[in-house]
């Protein structure tokens, strides 16, 4: 398959079950400058299923708010519209993933958790946005798996047999890696660049045209979550570290210890969350 064909196949995904109709309505509403969180919240809350999913996500431990968030408008105020929109856009993708690939689902949740911890430590303004970028950083893998299943399987197999990273095999077989694929989709879905770039460049954070710091945090969190062995990202190895990106967000040894300990606690709590999802379906 060449790049053009791949692009075409990915373009078609836009019409797949991934985009709930409510998203375009919300986009219109946000363009209106007088819109308030309360008004937006009311529109979302008309969809009860979506609302309960959304509240479950925002209350999960990777965002780590101490009090329970009980309304959508509250969630919008606390997490920002970018985050809420991304959670809505990707909610059906995550549903598919929970059912078909628990390992990748846990890898994504774990990466989001690590992103949040590091973003807070670095006092980034909206740490929830960084968590969200972490949550969907492997969007490309999820989509490959659901839209090009034979190709995906062949990639996983070759990676295992040859002892290669997934993205090396993707590059070889498809001409692009899952980072670029995820970036393409995120752009198609009109997600903000603060999220698009970190997804697209999570393996090459210094190539991001902007938001290099967020990209670097996602890059390192991906490494960290694989390092501790939580979830499964398609191949078992810790990815290489970009040292320029590391200089940007460098943690001291004692900060690193703090991050490891906090991550461990949050991952234990996260298991309650994934268990809850499994039980409730």
């Amino acid at each position: 398959m060449d790049k053009a064909e791949l692009k075409k196949r990915l373009n078609d995904i836009q019409s797949l079950p991934t985009l709930p109709p409510i998203v375009s309505k919300l986009n219109e509403m946000v363009a209106d400058e007088d819109i308030t969180a309360v008004k937006l919240g009311k529109v979302i809350e008309k969809d009860q299923v979506l609302t309960s999913k959304l509240l479950k996500m925002v209350n999960s431990s990777f965002f780590g708010f101490p009090q329970r968030i009980s309304t959508v408008s509250n969630a919008i105020v606390l997490l920002g519209f970018n985050v809420i929109k991304t959670l809505i856009v990707t909610s059906s993708i995550f549903e598919v993933m929970q059912a078909s690939d628990v390992g990748l689902f846990e890898h994504s949740l774990g990466c989001a958790t690590a992103c949040g911890i590091i973003a807070k430590m670095r006092q980034i303004k909206n740490p929830e946005e960084v968590s969200t970028a972490g949550l969907i950083h492997d969007l490309g893998k999820i989509v490959l798996r659901s839209e090009l299943p034979e190709e995906y399987e062949a990639i996983v197999r070759e990676a295992q047999e040859e002892g290669l990273y997934m993205r090396q095999v993707e590059k070889k077989r498809l001409g692009v890696g899952h980072g670029e694929i995820g970036g393409m989709l995120a752009r198609q879905w009109n997600l903000p660049e603060r999220l698009v770039f970190p997804i697209e460049f999570h393996h090459k954070p210094e190539l991001a045209p902007e938001y290099k710091e967020i990209a670097a945090i996602v890059h390192f969190s991906d490494i960290l979550i694989r390092a501790v062995g939580f979830g499964y990202g398609g191949d078992p190895w810790v990815p290489g570290l970009d040292h320029v990106a590391w200089e940007r967000i460098k943690l001291s040894k004692s900060q690193m210890r703090e991050v490891i300990a906090e991550l461990d606690e949050k991952l234990i709590e996260l298991q309650d969350f994934t268990l809850e999802i499994k039980v409730e379906g």
Binding site: R68, Y165, I223, L224, R226, A227, V228, G229, P236, W237, V238, P239, G240, L241, H243, W246, K253, M256, R257, I260, A261, D264, E265, I268, E269, Q271, D272
Partner: protein, 113 residues
């Protein structure tokens, strides 16, 4: 830290997090040392799970510390030459050892090397 169902709680274990009811009511704080009486009282008030310090309960199918350390090392096999990542591997291993065996054990281990 370990999350355990309250029926596995034993006296002398130390809470790593507040003990809360499913409704979110806090009954006693992190750092509290459990006693038989306290466990009975928490059960009565509806507490289902507790977060305790360290890793006192062995779960079925759980990997031993040395197995986990070995798997950790295998995951890092492609990045052994990277000094930052080597340090990261080290810190994770140390954290696991302390969690399971305590700080003293790690010190002794270091001294014996």
């Amino acid at each position: 830290m370990q999350r355990i169902p309250i029926k596995l709680a034993k006296a002398e274990m130390v809470l790593a997090k507040d003990a809360v009811t499913p409704e979110g009511q806090v009954l006693c704080g992190a750092g509290t040392k459990l006693s038989e009486e306290l466990i009975a009282r928490l059960k009565k008030q509806g507490v289902l799970v507790l977060s305790v310090k360290g890793h006192p309960v062995k779960e079925p199918g759980e990997k031993s510390l040395s197995e986990r350390l070995k798997a950790l090392d295998e995951r890092f096999s492609k990045v052994k030459k990277d000094p930052v990542l080597r340090a990261l591997e080290h810190l994770i291993g140390e954290y696991w050892i302390i969690e399971e065996k305590g700080e003293d054990f790690l010190e002794k281990l270091k001294a014996s090397k």
